[in-house]
């Protein structure tokens, strides 16, 4: 799928910057430089090296309470300045080559004031600015972040879900633990996990070394999957192939427990197992996959490493597990890849304990405020 990237706020901008860097590194062409970064903090733009200057949009710089210094987590303030500047914001979208793209992806951290507030106004505006589907890619705050971030996130998630065609969610809390360092120290690492998953699914077929698949997934399949609306999550698992060829790695179990004499695993078993692991390991937000409405599975790697039987039975297993009637599945042949990976988009998951917890914290924070 080809899509424009619109980053809002610090987290959104960093992710857009990262996605663009990965796009260039892979010789890809999903955004082709159709980028925009919105922020209320002038200094935020300094950290980007992939988003050109003319794509930096400072919102509310003339507002007396902001002046390019940010909204300090005040989502109401962010909404009101974005609305005041609405005409100006709309003009910025002329810079995106929307007619050449399939969709627009608005990326934002929902805990902050800018991502949730300005982001909310942007997704609302995009409804009238384009016929193309608009998707959200949002980050939910970690529990270690202030209570207000939970309130911002719970409220702006409502706006994102209502005004977009679907929201892919990444939950910092599912991925971060303070024992591993502070959240700020781990932005790069967490964004690495996020971008890998997002690219495996959304940028399918748009990277330079992509060959034509046997069982092709088209942009339409992806858009149909996301077309349910609601909250979507991504699962991913991969196996690094032993150097020196596929044969050796085929004989070695990915779960080698030291002994060389373990029973050998067939390619079919390994392929199916990889798909199962992608569905059951850490998702971008932990949730019950049986509440998913549709699913989209990509098996990527050297063709010789992808078993038809394993792929088909893995796909069948996935359909049974999710109890979804629409499971799109395809291969993504990468003759020179050193890994085989399975990535799964679960669309419209509705049983998401993390979002329930977020709403509870938000309600408590709101009562406290009043």
């Amino acid at each position: 799928m080809k899509f424009a990237l619109v980053g809002v706020g610090g987290a959104g901008g960093r992710i857009v910057d990262r996605l663009r860097r990965e796009e260039k590194a892979a010789g890809g062409s999903f955004s082709n430089g159709s980028l925009l970064a919105f922020d209320t903090t002038r200094a935020a733009f300094e950290q980007y090296d992939q988003i050109p200057l003319d794509r930096h949009v400072l919102v509310g710089d003339t507002h007396p309470e902001i002046r390019g210094e940010g909204v300090d987590g005040d989502v109401e303030l962010a909404v009101s300045v974005a609305r005041e500047d609405r005409d100006e914001l709309h003009r910025e979208f002329d810079k995106l080559e929307l007619h050449e793209l399939d969709a627009v992806v608005v990326v934002a951290g929902l805990g902050g004031g800018t991502g949730g507030g300005v982001g909310g106004v942007i997704v609302e505006s995009l409804q009238t600015l384009t016929d193309a589907p608009v998707y959200g890619l949002v980050v939910l705050p970690d529990e270690s972040e202030p209570e207000r971030t939970a309130l911002n996130a719970a409220r702006s998630l409502q706006s994102f879900v209502r005004f977009t065609d679907g929201v892919v969610v990444f939950d910092n809390d599912s991925w971060h633990d303070d024992a591993q360092g502070t959240l700020a120290e781990r932005y790069d690492e967490l964004n690495g996990h996020l971008t890998k998953r997002v690219l495996a699914v959304l940028a399918l077929g748009e990277l330079a070394d992509a060959e034509i698949a046997e069982n092709t997934l088209d942009s339409s399949d992806l858009m149909k999957t996301l077309g349910t609306g609601g909250v979507s999550v991504i699962g991913h698992a991969e196996i690094t192939l032993e150097s020196g060829g596929g044969l050796l790695s085929r004989l070695l179990s990915p779960f080698r427990n030291g002994t060389e004499d373990e029973p050998t695993e067939t390619l079919a078993m390994r392929t199916q197992d990889l798909i199962k692991r992608a569905a059951t390991r850490r998702l971008t937000v932990s949730c019950s996959i049986d509440s998913a409405d549709r699913a989209f599975l990509v098996l990527s790697g050297p063709p010789a490493e992808c078993s038809r039987k394993g792929f088909e039975s893995g796909r069948f297993w996935l359909e049974a597990q999710t109890d979804a009637a629409e499971v799109f599945a395809g291969d993504d042949p990468r003759p020179n890849a050193s890994v085989v990976s399975a990535s799964i988009l679960f669309a419209n998951v509705t049983d998401v304990p993390r979002i329930e917890a977020l709403k509870q914290r938000a309600v408590a924070a709101q009562r406290e405020d009043r």
């Binding site: 069982n215 942009s219 399949d221 909250v231 409405d293 069948f316």
Partner: protein, 391 residues
């Protein structure tokens, strides 16, 4: 037979491409005209044998397709084809219809394009031409799941009503344990191409000086004339070159009878194998309406007695008197092949299975559609509705 062959969608195009490859490799000349129609630009880049100017992209201006497929949605597939019907019609104008006996439309029924656009294409062909239009449909395997089964079950109805005969191919039939995805599709398409081309290309050389047993296009068309769903059986064995040569020299000598007897046994055995092994779609042979058997290979390996015995065996097995049998001489063939067409078979377990899978899928899709909005609302709002959206 001389065909105009049209591949619709990704699977249909691949089958067509494989048919052309097989023709090429075996010096056959079946598809006098080949055309691929698809909704996805990337898929149209794939064929090796379908000429670039015979690949038609439809739906590139359609709001929901835009040249990148129809999202496995049979409704969108049909809508795209209807919208671009003028373009399809113009492409058909290039078909020199007086050169062909029939039109074959190949499609996969599990996706959105073949299943949806296929019947629209067939409708148009039936309107434009008097020649019979046959369908070759790839049915999704069990493991492809609910949506493909639903597409296939619905599309099969349209195909069977609209075409003069529908030849079914079950994706699961060639599923093997140790294949990669690439090999899986390759092998399957190759098996299908071998069967369909060997069958339909029989009797293409109507002008050569031929023996009386030689199959004629009109026999094949007569067998297909039943309508309904058909299945193809196939078996082949390598020709012993030494023996072939010897029998030619010895044809006036004493060894002739012995050879004739072995050849007859061999042919009868091949025909049995063709029917009893994998059919393109599993069915009860006795439910067939008409049957046709073609023996294809070097003429010196043919045996009139074998052909006759096979015909009788098939009459009994298929419980019909309408069994046609004939030879398809291929001077330089390295194999002797028997291909059996079982026309209008009415007992096909896989189709019953697809239909029940489809009913389940349709119910599930409706259930999910009905609760979707409400479940999303419940996910994003709190119980007492205290939280307001920011925008």
């Amino acid at each position: 037979m001389k065909l105009a062959t049209i591949g619709v969608g990704n699977a249909g195009t691949k089958v067509l491409d494989r048919m052309l490859e097989f023709e090429n490799a075996t010096n056959r000349n079946l598809c006098r005209h080949a055309m691929a129609i698809n909704t996805a630009r990337t898929d149209l880049a794939k064929p090796d044998y379908v000429p670039a100017d015979r690949r038609v992209l439809i739906g590139d201006t359609h709001q929901k397709a835009k040249g990148h497929g129809v999202g496995g949605d049979v409704e969108v597939g049909a809508d795209v084809a209807k919208t671009d019907i003028e373009e399809i019609r113009r492409a058909f104008d290039d078909v020199e219809i007086h050169d062909v006996d029939a039109i074959l439309v190949c499609a996969g029924l599990g996706g959105g394009t073949g299943s949806g656009a296929g019947p629209v294409v067939i409708d148009e062909l039936q309107k434009m031409y008097d020649e019979p239009v046959y369908g070759l449909g790839v049915l999704p395997g069990k493991y492809e799941g609910g949506r493909p089964a639903l597409n296939a079950a619905r599309s099969l109805q349209s195909f069977v009503t609209k075409v003069d005969n529908f030849i079914g191919f079950d994706n699961d039939a060639w599923r093997a344990r140790d294949q990669t995805i690439e090999e899986g599709y390759d092998e399957m398409n190759e098996e299908l191409a071998t069967r369909i081309v060997t069958l339909l290309a029989a009797g293409e050389k109507d002008d050569t000086d031929v023996a009386e047993n030689v199959m004629d296009s009109s026999d094949i068309m007569r067998t297909l004339d039943t309508g309904g769903v058909s299945s193809i059986g196939y078996a082949a064995s390598p020709v012993d070159e030494q023996k072939g040569l010897l029998s030619r020299f010895a044809s006036n000598g004493e060894e002739f009878n012995a050879d004739e007897a072995t050849d007859a046994t061999k042919i009868k055995g091949l025909v049995r194998r063709a029917v009893n092994s994998r059919l393109t779609i599993q069915c009860e042979v006795s439910s067939a309406d008409r049957v046709l058997v073609v023996i294809s290979g070097p003429p010196e390996t043919f045996a009139r007695k074998g052909l006759e015995a096979s015909r009788q065996w098939l009459e009994q097995k298929a419980d019909t008197v309408e069994v046609l049998a004939g030879d398809d001489p291929r001077e330089n063939a390295t194999e002797l092949a028997a291909v059996v067409l079982l026309s209008n078979v009415t007992k096909t377990p896989r189709i019953d299975e697809i239909q029940s899978q489809a009913v389940d899928a349709q119910n599930k899709i409706r259930e999910l559609d009905a609760v979707r909005e409400q479940e999303i609302e419940e996910l994003i709002t709190d119980e007492n509705d205290e939280l307001d959206p920011v925008v």
